[in-house]
Structure formats: C-alpha cells, structure tokens
Symmetry: C2
Subunit: 439 residues, 2 copies
C-alpha cells in the first residue's frame, strides 16, 4: 500500500483534459498539494492507504472553477446601486463610495467575504484587480484561496498610489512579496485604455517582458469607451493598444463587448485571452462579448464574475450558464459554446489566461489538487443523462459540497474550514451598517 494524504472516491470525474474525458467510479489520490493518481476506485482501495478517505457516491469531481476577473472586496458594495448604466453607476455611486469607505480594513473584510462565497460556490482561484492587493494576498494565504493579484495602474491618484510610477513601484513590491507563494501570483493590471497613458503603458510592457507577467486590463467594455478613444486618440482602444505592442500573448482583455472582426483577428493572432463577464455586461447594459466568434478563431475565452457590486454575486456556475446560453442565443447557433466548451471556459481557459494552466484548471496527475465536488444525487439534477450537461445547465451552487485547494479541504461537507462563516457574515453586516448610516 502506498501512503496518500487524501483519496476521494467519486461517481464521476470530469477531468477537462485535452479529450474532455469523463471517468466513472474513479478516485483521485492527493499527496501534499498535488494529484498523484486518478484510477478506478477498486484499484485505488487496493493500492493506496489514505489519511483521509472521502466517499462521494453521487457526486462529480471537477477542476475548481477559475474566476478570471473580479474585484473581490467590492462584495461589500453588493447591490448598493441598481438599474444604472456603467458611467452613472461608477461616477455617482461606486467612486464616491470607494472614496469614503475603501481602506485596509474594508479590503481585508471584503476579500474574506468574497473568498467565502467563492469557495462555497466551487471556485478555487480568482483573478483580482483592486486596491491594497497586498491585503488581499494575505487574506488569500490565510484562507488558503488561490488568487492572482493585479498590480494596478492608473493615471490619477487614489488611496493606493498617487502617480503612475508609484502604482508600478507598489506593483513590483507586490510581485516580490508573493513571488514564492504557493497560492498567490501577480499580473500587471493597468485599469483600462481610457485611464492609462501611452507612457505608462510603455513601462508596463517592459515590465511584462522582463518578468513574463500577464497584463490584466478592462478593454472595450462599452461603446462610450470606444467613442471617447476615437475622439481623443483618433483610433479605437484596441488599435491604440496594438500600436503600443500591448496586443500580445500576455494580454487578458476583460469584457471586450465591442469587437470588430479585425480586432478579433488581432487578438487571435497575438494569442491574447478574453475574460468574459456576461452578467455584469448585461446588468450595466454595456454590450455583449461576441464569444462565438472569438472561439471560432481559437481565442482563449475565460469567464469572470466582475465584482459583486455589478453582478451581484460571485457565482461562477451561474456565470458560466449565462455565458453558454447567451452565446447560443446571440449567435443564433445552439451548438455554440457546447457543454464541454463552457466547462473549459470556466476552468482550464481561466487557468491559461492567468499563466497557471500547467499547474491548475484540469484534473490530471501532477497538477495541483484544486478540486470541486458537486452533489448530483438530488432531484433537481435527476434524471441524469450527462453529468456535464446537468452541471452546466441545471445545478445550483448549493450542490457544491466539498472543495480542495492545493490539497487542502477548504469546504468540508458544505462547511468552510479556513474561514469562519459567522464571523464573515458579521463583517458584512458591520459594513452595511456603516455604509447605510452614512450614505
């Protein structure tokens, strides 16, 4: 018998390997933070002696969901302003609220709330972009959450930094602080073409090249952004980015609701990625990302929830359902974003755009044990002709019972193990009270 830390027996294992293999009655063997083996359950019981043996007879195991774009701490602004378009929502509500409330305490509490919600919904990795990312990284390490932190950059001063150079300096400090972390990676995160100058972009590009860092940026979120760029620069933002050398393999372009065919081609040729945030884009009436066209050109499209302030949740399962159904409906092609494609978008494609696809995003031997277990033995998921179709189209996040991140069981039979649920709820109530009483 070979010693293992954890053996998980499951009715199905949705591997999201290159062939989208779905295994039946298999077990995943975890040693330390890695998947050591995936094999039929009877063989596993003969071969491995596990410290913890978890039997999930009616469940599917799948790679933990990867949220490719969020502002975690904005969870504390969940539902604070409704039924508004992006600019008034930002300018009249979110920015004033941020000016008044965002500080290190807010960021820590908001990140904890976000991680709790994410884990309970099967998410094991989040790509964050917000202030005080060092706090977010610390909370992630304490919560055993996997995150990618944005080294944000803006042209104007905020509570985090007062000049583009200070943003970049603080970003580099963030990089160095977490570069040996098992859970935290970093990406350059210029906010958007309309808030960052060419000079700053040139510096960012040099850093990306030198450190092999991804660039996480809002791009073509609204028509307004494109129109403003035409007025200010004479070209659309993607053209401007292309001329600056920023349409490249490091780029993760978020939203991308306004894309010409030639822009899709530019992104495809460059090997850039897209973070599609369907609920936020619909809710703010920003536009709809042409996912079917992007996938047809083999662009890597991942899925993000955006912040809970414009969503109002961090429910990746629901977000992926929106992505699949919206793509079918908008393209007029019901085969667009098939079940397997949607599941890839929510897992391996997300890992790819964060530069961690060699480590996460699928259940394969040697990869990190980032695993989500979903109970399909409930009447809402029965009859069950296909576990993947039922997960994509019928399951709800409460069916997530167990989650492992790097082999650590952060959700155990529905209970968070690294975050105190009641304490987290109390933090949210504390902030609601403060904000409501002074808003």
């Amino acid at each position: 018998m070979i010693r293992a830390d954890t053996v998980i027996d499951s009715r199905w294992v949705i591997t999201v390997d290159e062939s989208d293999t779905v295994l039946e009655n298999h077990s995943i063997v975890v040693v330390a933070d890695r998947i050591k083996d995936i094999l039929p359950t009877p063989e596993a019981s003969r071969k491995y002696n596990a410290t913890e043996h978890v039997v999930l007879g009616g469940h599917a195991l799948m790679p933990g969901l990867v949220n490719a774009h969020t502002h975690a701490s904005m969870s504390l602004f969940r539902g604070v302003a409704e039924d508004l378009p992006l600019q008034p929502w930002l300018e009249q509500h979110i920015w004033p609220l941020e000016g008044k409330w965002v500080n290190r305490e807010f960021i820590r509490d908001g990140a904890l709330l976000a991680f709790a919600e994410a884990i309970m919904g099967g998410t094991t990795c989040m790509n964050d972009m917000y202030f005080f990312a060092d706090e977010v990284g610390e909370v992630a390490e304490q919560s055993n959450m996997r995150v990618s932190l944005g080294m944000i950059a803006l042209e104007f001063p905020t509570i985090w930094a007062s000049s583009p150079d200070e943003y970049l300096d603080k970003g580099m400090a963030l990089y160095h602080r977490f570069k040996d972390s098992d859970l935290v990676t970093t990406m350059l995160a210029p906010h958007a073409p309309y808030t960052v100058s060419n000079a700053t972009f040139e510096k960012i590009l040099k850093i990306a090249d030198a450190y092999k860092l991804g660039i996480h940026m809002h791009v073509h979120e609204t028509v307004q952004e494109v129109t403003d760029s035409l007025n200010q620069y004479g070209v659309r933002p993607i053209r401007r980015m292309k001329d600056l050398g920023l349409i490249n393999q490091y780029l993760l372009a978020v939203h991308a609701t306004q894309l010409l065919d030639e822009e899709i081609e530019m992104l495809a040729e460059a090997g850039s990625s897209i973070a599609h945030c369907p609920k936020s884009n619909l809710k703010l009436a920003s536009g709809i990302c042409p996912v079917s066209d992007l996938l047809a050109r083999n662009v890597n499209v991942a899925i993000g929830t955006d912040g809970a302030a414009s969503n109002n949740s961090l429910n990746m399962l629901e977000e992926t359902r929106f992505a699949a159904l919206l793509a079918k409906g908008c393209s007029g092609n019901s085969a667009s974003v098939s079940v397997n494609e949607a599941i890839r978008m929510a897992t391996i494609n997300g890992a790819r755009c964060l530069g961690i696809a060699h480590e996460a995003g699928s259940l394969e031997v040697g990869k990190l044990a980032d695993i989500t277990a979903m109970d399909l033995d409930v009447l809402q998921s029965q009859p069950l002709f296909s576990p993947t179709a039922q997960i994509l189209h019928a399951a709800t996040r409460n069916q997530v019972t167990d989650v492992w991140i790097g082999g650590n069981r952060v959700l155990n039979s529905g209970t968070l193990t690294t975050i105190d649920n009641s304490e987290c709820l109390a933090l949210a109530v504390k902030w609601q009270s403060r904000i409501s009483n002074d808003n």
Copy 2:
C-alpha cells in the same frame, strides 16, 4: 386574541401590491387558505393566537413564484439532448422519446418530480401544457400544488387524442373535472399556429368566449415558424391569429421571440399576455423576446421556464434573473426591467395571465396564502442594501426555506411535506434507467 392557523414573523414582506410596498418586521396571518392580516410583528403577537407560529428573523416573504409556461412531466427528459436547435431537438430527440415513453405513469412521475423541484425553488403555481393533464391535476391536488392545466389541441393524433374534436372533448372533460378544485384551473392550449388549423381555432375561440377560458399557446417561437406561415398562409402567424380573432384578452402567447412593432401594438391593444422563457429561447437559439418593448407598451409579460428538457431546470428565480439581465443587455438600457418589474413579472404578472390575479400573485389581505420565504441571512446575500435587489440578482434557490400554498406549508425548513423526496428521486432514477437502456 383572535384565533389564526399560522402567523409568520419575517424581517421583510415583499408584498408586490400596486405600490410595490416592502414592509419591515411584519407578520402575515393565515386563516384557512387565505391571508387574513399583514401587520407589524409586535401587534400581531398581541392580536393573534396562532396554531403555528413561524419566526423567520432573517428572511423575506414574497408571493410564491408563478411559472407561466412549462411542460412539467418533461422533467424526466432533463438533459437528454444538448446543443441543438429547436427543430432537430424536437424531431430527432424529443418526439421519438415521447412516442416511446410517454404514458400515464410517465406523466404522474414527471409531474411529481417537477412539483418537488418547483416548490423547493419557491414556485407555488405552474401553467402546464402536456399530455394526460388529468393525471397532472391529480398529482397537483395530492401534492397541494397550484396548477393551470392546458386543454391541449393539435391537428395530428398523439397518445392523448386522435382528432381535433377529441382533443377538445377531452379538454372540456378536464375543465369539468377540475372546475370546483381549490388548486387546479384550466386553459385552452392549442399547441401553436403551425400545428392547429383555422377550423380548430374557430372552435377554440367559441369555447374561450363561452367559458371565459384563457388560451395558452406557443406563438412566434422561431424564425422558421414565421417563414413557414408566410409560405403556407401568406401572413405571419400573429396576423393569421388576429384575423381569426385570437389576439384578444384571453391569449397568453408563449415565447414571442419574433415580433414586429405592429405585432407588439396588436398584442398591447388586445390586452394579451406574454410568457417569456429566456433560458429555453437562448438554449435552443430560437431568438430573444423583446421584453423591454413589450413592457413599454404595457403588455403583461410573465416568466416561464418551459420544460426542463430545454432548460434544464424549473428554477424560476434563475429564470427571472435571466429575464431581467437579458432585457437590460439586449435593449441597451440598464434601467429596463427594474428590480420591481422583474419581481412583478415572476409573480403578479404570472397570476394575471392565468386569470387568477384576484386570488394570487401578491401578498395582500384576502388573497390566497401562496407564500415563499427566502433566507437572506447568509453571506451570499450580505451586505443587504435592498432585499428585492438581492433576491433578484444574488440569491439562489436553496435560500428558499419555506413555502405555503393555499395556507398549507408544503416546504417546512427546506423539507417537502406533501412529496416524499427520496421516493421522487427514485422515480427519476427509474425512468433514467429505462430510457438510457433503450435509447
């Protein structure tokens, strides 16, 4: 002290009355099947002596959700065929499966599964259209589920009837069988313009007039349907229906993804209703109902899940979220389908199109006690600046803890009381096994 059957104390009561009143720290008093009183909790405790006193301190009470279009028993075909457009999905999968499997046992088992899922998700009334509706009505009465049964009509023979006249005769028998029921109502249900002849429509219209019955029909689901009608009749289906006198106050037009301005005007002038099924329409790539335009002309728009075969769930909360977000995104107006409008669509608008708005669809004194309680004291719904916004945009169906239908507590702290959950699950598994082994 006045005697009452049930007093429910709640943090919020979302009444969906004419002013969309949301009450705080109020109680709903139920006597027999009706709401007798709604008043501040301290007053309720002085005034009423209840057989059952339910304290829901972190919950919102809202009217039970009304599913305006479904095929309940098709839940047994949940996820049986994926990534297909309507016609191949129907012709190559659903119709052959129906021919092979649909019988009285299938209908009873499927209806029970559907009612169980619906109740657990906060739905208290479903508008059904399928074969052997008498069985569905019986299961509804046994389960204490409120349903509207479709008196279906088609030009071609099925297991239910062999001629249009036989369909109508069986429909009238259904009407008479349930006309005194507390839970079951009936609507005429010609399948669609493309499956029913003018002669049959003329008979249906006479019955509607004589018995004051609603007419529940698929209308303009796809482009194909409109094109075929132009070829066969020289006019679009709604024009043909208008000429037949069927665009009237009795009509509940389902889907309506293809609407010209003049057709919206016809529906508005006639006082017809629409059952919008966003997920099914997206999934089958049928098109997108122009909900914003319909609401702008004051057309009564309700929400339906369609059958679970094309959804793949009966999750009205999620369906309503799709309706709100899709309307915002497709109209380019983030104020379209506001929080209150969306909640009305899922409740009172549904009741209106079933002809029961005087009895259900809102929490008001004298109405039936069809009540859904949702726990908002969970971290996924916090902070909570607006209970209605959080329900529409952030809550998931597992937060529904209690449901009353006609004063009967059919869901008690998450447990079904009129349906045996395990038995229901076993029925689904039985049918899956039969269908999988012979498909």
